[in-house]
């Protein structure tokens, strides 16, 4: 369902960027992406509650080229045998596949951190989720504006 607010945003977007709007207005694509994101999220966390905090996701707010975007994740944790980060997952909302990277680590890592470079297909929200040794999940999100999308050939948005 399109709310009034979404309709206005889409209309504005279609005036501003005709190619982006074409893809945006395909209702199935947007819905499929959202479903894929939810499914990936469920696969990672199951029925557990995801809380905000403890995770710091760093991405540049404005990205010229979506083909290579520096991304780093740091999680607050003492990283001891009793209390450490077990896994870090990064998900995107609008890439063709929601998964970006999944890291498995433990107390031997010393610090719960990850730095890499990713591809982003569109202006979107990127989410990092950390799984702690006690089974809890913590997350952080970053909104990014992408000027030149990765996977341009497909007109993916």
């Amino acid at each position: 369902m399109t709310t009034r607010r979404e309709f206005l945003v889409l209309t504005a977007a279609s005036l501003a960027a005709p190619t982006a709007a074409k893809a945006q207005l395909d209702p199935n694509l947007a819905a499929n992406r959202r479903a894929a994101f939810q499914e990936a999220l469920r696969r990672i966390v199951g029925d557990a509650q995801v809380r905000r905090g403890r995770v710091k996701l760093t991405l540049p707010p404005l990205i010229d080229n979506g083909n290579s975007v520096p991304l780093s994740v740091a999680v607050e944790s003492p990283m001891t045998a009793a209390d450490h980060v077990k896994a870090i997952h990064v998900l995107t909302e609008k890439n063709p596949l929601p998964d970006v990277v999944s890291v498995a680590l433990g107390p031997r890592a010393g610090r719960a951190s990850l730095a890499t470079r990713v591809r982003l297909a569109d202006t979107q929200t990127v989410t990092a989720i950390a799984q702690m040794s006690d089974g809890s999940f913590w997350s952080d999100s970053a909104e990014v504006v992408v000027t030149l999308s990765a996977c341009l050939e497909e007109g993916l948005i």
Partner: protein, 106 residues
């Protein structure tokens, strides 16, 4: 052809957290791009990166097509004992690269 670079300190104090940077040479073809004639270019990516310290796995990353070409992975580990760190990248089409780096711990 397949190459990888690993940067880490040659020596460290016991218990020190060391930073490791790894870079593998790989195009990370997503499987979503098409050629000019419209054929889909098959996926060819690195699926998994593992770092083992004297045989014990300390860090593992599962990569997906959303990782940029020539994947950079930077992380940390605790310098526990003198020995070797083994880095392995495994991917589609039988891609497999292993790098070994020694470390001296005092």
């Amino acid at each position: 052809m397949a190459r990888a670079v690993v940067t880490l300190p040659a020596q460290a104090k016991r218990g020190e957290i060391i930073e490791i940077k790894t870079l593998a040479q790989h195009s990370m073809e997503t499987g979503f791009r098409r050629t000019q004639t419209g054929e889909l270019i098959p996926r060819d990516i690195i699926r998994r990166f593992t770092c083992t310290y004297n045989g014990v796995e300390v860090y593992r990353a599962d990569l997906h097509p959303a990782i940029a070409a020539n994947p950079l992975i930077a992380f940390t580990t605790v310098a526990t004992e003198t020995g070797t760190l083994t880095f392995q990248w495994v991917g589609d089409n039988g891609y497999s690269v292993t790098e070994i780096a020694p470390i001296r711990v005092e």
